[in-house]
Symmetry: D2
């Protein structure tokens, strides 16, 4: 608890982002110390330095895919552990200062991802809109409210538009109406969250060499134990073209025998493997487990081998 | 040739980007009509509409990975074909207007990717630098030269700094000194580039369902024919969390029997597969081909089966 | 038809064996010329030399497994083709000359396989029975009828016991009451039997080297095309310990696209592969075929690739 | 030691067979009690009943393949353990009573396997030889020496010909001059033979269902752990056509981590698996072991997982 009576959390700021909304879903976070960070990397570094107990950052967006900054920052450096996940629906509004009509809007500020997700609405409703890049949707809204930046409107969350008292010229303007982002709460190494039966395990796996056989060998560690993967993403290591690591989410908890066995198999072929945590799924969906990959099957096999080694 | 005497190319602009540098490596492009586009999508749409003959866009960066906008834009819409690739080393400079000393720099404009790649140098050389997002490195430089934007320096390519007459306060400031980006020249469907023996084939493959078995089945189409993959990237389809397609580069040309056979196998299990082209590798590196996956082995097997079907 | 008006068949004799019973199930065989052979090898050689049109030999017994002599003889030498199969239930009787009571039986002659299959009954009904090896069950019965060999009873088929007028001291004395043997009719190379939708294809596949990976690569040629194997047997090549070939029966006809594709894949990795025929299953059981391995899927994939190669 | 001062062994008799020659290679067996048995099954049953300490039986012949009687007898019934193997070169002679010239030989007695292995020599040297089946090569020789059976010569081992004082009309008459048979010494369950680094592990694995996928899943348990198979044979269960089990020899000892892990994986998917022993190879050949399947890799993976489960 970092020496204080209340827990402390960093998050990808500024205030009013979807990330803060995710953090507020954590029990007790409403009364906790909440520290906005300008980048995912600095939010995570605050955990590593001990400045905060944990950090809330986005990991996967249903439209844009994995959040590269998070995937990359968590994959290297001092070890961290994901302890919780939250799902937040993503909806955008076109916000403007009081008195601005939709017909007046020429220049629109927002983050590049939000701009990409609202192109159809903007093309249909704002003649020749000019895009002004901003470092976040909340920053665009804040600059707009402050009269800075020389633009007429911002694409942002309803939350931040409301907080800043901006007028809403268009509601739910994203191309995909049920977009959702998954956020993770990241702490330091320590006791694992308890197994719930509907868990997720996140791993970072260096891809040994660039041929399909090597990737198949890695995937086989999961497939052979009946462990499903709900997310698999490649990320460049930054060293040279074609040098990748894989970021994957596997169904199950490391205390499930089939997951533990898969992890040991992965460690043998790729010892640089990094375990990023086992934690409850936000959607509470349990995987189907076949008999031969159940804990019972693992226990029975261990006992059978024991009798052989004991000479019985 | 689009009705004109000279070929015409769109590219991800503005002028002075690394993309234009890639385009200029294409024989004859120096005398061609070159049309900068504001986004990858619009560069590609100019090909689809027939406004230009082909478009040069980035596809893969050794530091940032696949270029999402390209991967996504080429994966849907009217079919396109990659006909050529170019490799361009990526080096950044910190550019300022004449008279600005390094010690004066507080606010630095650039594209988000460039900012991410120069953080170590900036943290070490510019006290408390503030990041000003820009839509491209060239745009940042141009605004700086024009005295617009309220910032003191820009991170951009040496090419554009030189063209604009900006002073260089720091050379080769990227964290990784041998960063390189791969660019592709994209045309419409038509005759395939000739097989050279050192070719690449690019595909978009919908991932049927989210389990490792399905992905392994896809990878096995390559592995079973000894076809190496030099790049494999997942991209969300944008429909819902966990719904992905794969963008892959396979060694070889579709006129190689083993590649053709792999493509047919892929089509059977994933008929939504999209072929994006077979083209010569910029590095001219030929793959090792085992005897049992050679064209000779395919021909011999076809002939053998023919004798059986003929009742001989 | 070998120059004669009626077809001619060799079979594993002597007369009265189960093999002759199988041959008599072939339409028209009752009026054909039937030539008993003393060994499977000589029955097959009669086909190779042109002395007969085809040979009936056993290939698989539900109790004893593959018939080694057949598997080995058909795997080498001039090529042969299986054109038909028959299933014959195997039942044994204990036969003796008139006047012999069960209590008088001390020495029993039969073929080693029959002896093995009737041990339980013999142990229960004949005190201290002594085994007298014979080259076939029919030969044992014939010697018994002729008063030769110095034994009291023979284990043979009901058919031969009846023909020779022997008394039956025990009926259906096999340990397994529903034993069945599969027989094959083997001709020379020629036109394939027509595809019926419920076919079998028999192959001989040299195992390249003695590791599981090589065998898996072979099996994957079937598995990847959804081709089921109803029989898989290893046989030594006779060269050295651990040097084996595989004899397999695959569901389907070589004119099925998935089977043809699997055979081509096998030929590439193991060019010494031998095709022994596609023929209708005696039990008329059709395999389930998944969409992606149907003839339609193969045709669609071929057409799709054709459009790419044509530059469309 | 069965209550006696000297060990006792059963073996597939009669005296003078190659099996007795194999038994005599076991240290101390020359002074042990040696009990010939008429069948492999009865030799093994003598171990099960405690009548002897162990039994020597043939398991694999380089010409004829696996010895079915051994594979089948050891696969069912009370559990047994292979504790040792011996390799014996197989050479045959044509033996006759003194005074018989080669030109006089018409009828030759021997075991069916021996007859098959000497066909080329016999066809070349004895005009129109007639085959007289015998239950073993030694029995044929013994009957010949006793003047029984009405035949002129026997095909048998040089050992038994010498013991019986028979004349040798042809030496080394087998078609394959370097034929060898592998024999196994089988005891009851108990302490495992020590790991030597050049070991073999023998298993009986029921094949779950008759499709290549199931067999591949079984083979993958070995392949995924880098465990080579030096012998793999199918045997019918005797229940119905197409119902098989597999008899395999794997390189390595159950105390090797990779072998133990493979066995546990097999037990999970096929709990009816039977372990038949780990024992030193007669040829002392050690397998190549890749780093990721070494004991060290297993230990490192176990320790790594331990730190995760401990919350470190």
């Amino acid at each position: 608890m970092n020496g204080a009576d209340v827990p402390s959390y960093s998050y990808l700021g500024p205030e009013g982002t979807f990330t803060e909304a995710a953090l507020l879903k954590v029990p007790g976070a409403g009364h906790a110390r909440r520290v906005p960070a300008s980048t995912v990397g600095s939010a995570l570094d605050a955990v590593r330095s001990g400045a905060v107990d944990a950090a809330m950052v986005p990991i996967e967006n249903s439209v844009e895919g994995g959040v590269s900054a998070t995937l990359d920052s968590i994959a290297v450096g001092d070890p961290l552990r994901i302890v919780r996940e939250e799902l937040v629906p993503i909806t955008f509004v076109l916000a403007a200062r009081a008195g601005t009509a939709l017909a007046d809007v020429r220049r629109i500020a927002t983050h590049g991802h939000a701009w990409a997700q609202c192109r159809a609405w903007v093309d249909g409703h704002v003649r020749d809109a000019e895009y002004v890049p901003s470092s976040s949707t909340a920053a665009a809204a804040r600059d707009l409210a402050a009269g800075e930046g020389g633009f007429d409107a911002a694409i942002c969350s309803p939350l931040v538009a409301g907080r800043l008292g901006l007028a809403v010229l268009g509601e739910d303007i994203g191309d995909i109406s049920d977009a959702v982002t998954r956020f993770i709460l990241v702490g330091g190494p320590g006791a694992l969250p308890p197994r719930t039966g509907a868990d997720r395990t996140t791993l970072v796996i260096p891809l040994p060499v660039d041929h399909p056989g090597a990737l198949m060998q890695i995937l086989d560690q999961f497939a052979a134990r009946g462990v499903n993967l709900s997310r698999i993403e490649s990320r460049p290591t930054g060293q040279f073209l074609g040098d990748y690591f894989f970021s994957v989410d596997a169904d199950g908890h490391v205390e499930d025998a089939r997951v533990a066995d898969a992890l040991k198999g992965l460690h043998r072929i790729s010892p640089g493997l990094r375990f990023l945590g086992s934690y409850a799924r936000a959607d509470r969906r349990s995987p189907a487990v076949e008999r031969h990959t159940s804990d019972d099957a693992f226990t029975a096999a261990d006992e059978w081998l024991g009798t052989i080694l004991d000479g019985r």
